[in-house]
């Protein structure tokens, strides 16, 4: 029960309360502020899950994994500041290297232990995962489709990482799924779908990308399975087309269509990591 509470219940409730409050308190005249508050609600949802998984704020943060939130928060703040202050072109040029540097700070204890060949593999692997999950920054809008596909990708990563490597990192992905799930649930109750701002979406993508990266380098989770998860945002045009063909305008039906299409790579990844031996 403790596992369910920390991974699902606490982050979900936090996200629901904070995002719901932000929406209730700030009406349309404060649309931009409200968008960022929704992002903060999401982040806090994840934060609550993250710290309850680690048994409170007093937990000793000796592993790089434990520093995930702080590192990604800095990356998120960087993304947010870039979003406000600099032009779009410069933002897209500067953001990837900035976040890349932050990622290396996060995993530097591991990097310093690697031999040259491993380090090259490490850099290439990181680039692959981050390019795949980061493409969403520039191409894909913060729409209903990306809302649903993000939840599916996060849920898929939670299951796959837990099965193939680390329950701890899997739980982090679970907390992220729960917080994003709260945002998704609230969207289903609204007549008009309310997407996140791009800066918030960048933060979420950074979190998921960092979790996938940690899972690969620290727990050696199957790379192809992780890349399949990172591939989910690329299905955006397919989802868009499928929704257009179906002609549905109901948010829930659109979510179901998006969810089904996004699940394809997730199921393939699940098939790759499904344990052949009995669980222990």
């Amino acid at each position: 029960m403790g596992l369910i509470n920390t991974t699902v219940i606490y982050p979900l409730l936090t996200a629901l309360v904070l995002i719901g409050s932000a929406r209730a308190l700030w009406k349309d005249q404060w649309a931009t502020t409200r968008l960022y508050l929704v992002g903060i609600g999401l982040s806090f949802g994840f934060l609550v899950g993250y710290f309850s998984i680690h048994q409170g704020f007093s937990a000793s943060h000796i592993n790089s994994v434990d520093r995930l939130f702080f590192a990604v928060s800095i990356a998120g703040l960087t993304a947010f500041l870039f979003h406000i202050w600099i032009t779009r072109l410069r933002r897209y040029l500067l953001m990837p290297p900035a976040t890349f540097i932050i990622l290396y700070v996060l995993i530097s204890p591991l990097l310093f232990r690697l031999q040259l060949a491993e380090a090259v593999g490490f850099i290439l692997g990181t680039l692959l995962i981050w390019t795949a999950s980061g493409m969403v920054w520039t191409k894909i809008s913060h729409s209903h489709i990306s809302n649903t596909s993000y939840v599916v990708a996060a849920l898929g990563s939670a299951i796959i990482i837990s099965l193939d490597g680390s329950l701890l990192i899997g739980q982090m992905a679970g907390a992220l799924t729960a917080a994003a799930g709260g945002w998704w649930l609230l969207n289903q109750t609204q007549k008009r779908h309310e997407p996140l701002g791009k800066a918030n979406m960048v933060f979420l993508q950074l979190l998921l990308g960092a979790i996938l990266t940690l899972a690969y380098f620290y727990a050696e989770v199957n790379l192809i399975a992780l890349l399949l998860i990172a591939f989910v945002p690329f299905l955006y045009p397919v989802c868009q087309r499928a929704i257009a063909i179906s002609g549905t305008t109901a948010p829930l039906l659109q979510s179901i269509v998006t969810g089904m299409i996004s699940s394809i790579p997730v199921l393939m990844a699940l098939w790759l990591v499904w344990p052949e031996q009995s669980l222990y």
């Binding site: 937990a59 000796i62 790089s64 490597g165 329950l167 727990a219 031996q277």
Partner: protein, 186 residues
């Protein structure tokens, strides 16, 4: 002349007061590093580390106050590949970031059957004092012309002391460490 006599006498005095120590290198093919963890209160799970190295010294009076051991965390083996992968992950040994588990002795107290070897154990980047109960198994010449000595050592640690907090106490925190060591005199 008087100075020379004094120096010679002093040298003899110092030499006689020194205890002679033999140095041994751990023979990994005849040694085992084992751990025992409780499984949900039903049974005990036994695992081991397959790669390790170390050395120790034994003094004339049988005491041993210099022992070091380095264990490769990634070599954990519980006879279940998937579980071993999980044990290597950040949930437990975090072998990528902390590839070595190290022990270095600090003191030795002789008892009737062996002794107590105190030292510092470094796991997950955290160093804590531990005490191994030491039992001597035997010593003597081997068939290949060398000289060997063997000890069993055991201690119990709380994994959360080293920051291995994951799923505690659902997965019990007390871990028994058993070392079955054979050393070859250098």
């Amino acid at each position: 002349m008087k100075l020379k006599q004094t120096l010679v006498a002093l040298t003899f005095f110092l030499a006689s007061s020194m205890v002679y120590a033999d140095n041994y290198k751990i023979d990994p093919t005849h040694s085992t590093v084992q751990f025992i963890a409780n499984h949900l209160g039903f049974s005990h799970l036994v695992g081991r580390f397959n790669t390790f190295e170390g050395s120790f010294s034994v003094e004339e009076d049988g005491s041993s106050n210099q022992a070091v051991m380095v264990i490769d965390a990634a070599s954990v083996d519980t006879n279940h590949t998937k579980r071993d992968d999980h044990l290597r992950s950040p949930d437990f040994f975090n072998a990528k970031e902390f590839p070595k588990i190290e022990f270095a002795s600090t003191a030795f107290k002789k008892t009737e059957n062996g002794g107590v070897l105190a030292g510092k154990l470094s796991l997950l980047g955290v160093t804590k004092p531990v005490e191994f109960e030491l039992t001597k198994v035997g010593e003597g010449k081997d068939p290949w012309g060398g000289y060997r000595i063997g000890y069993n050592a055991t201690t119990t640690i709380d994994r959360t002391d080293f920051g291995m907090n994951y799923m505690a106490p659902a997965i019990p925190v007390e871990i028994i460490l058993n070392l079955f060591i054979e050393g070859i005199k250098e």
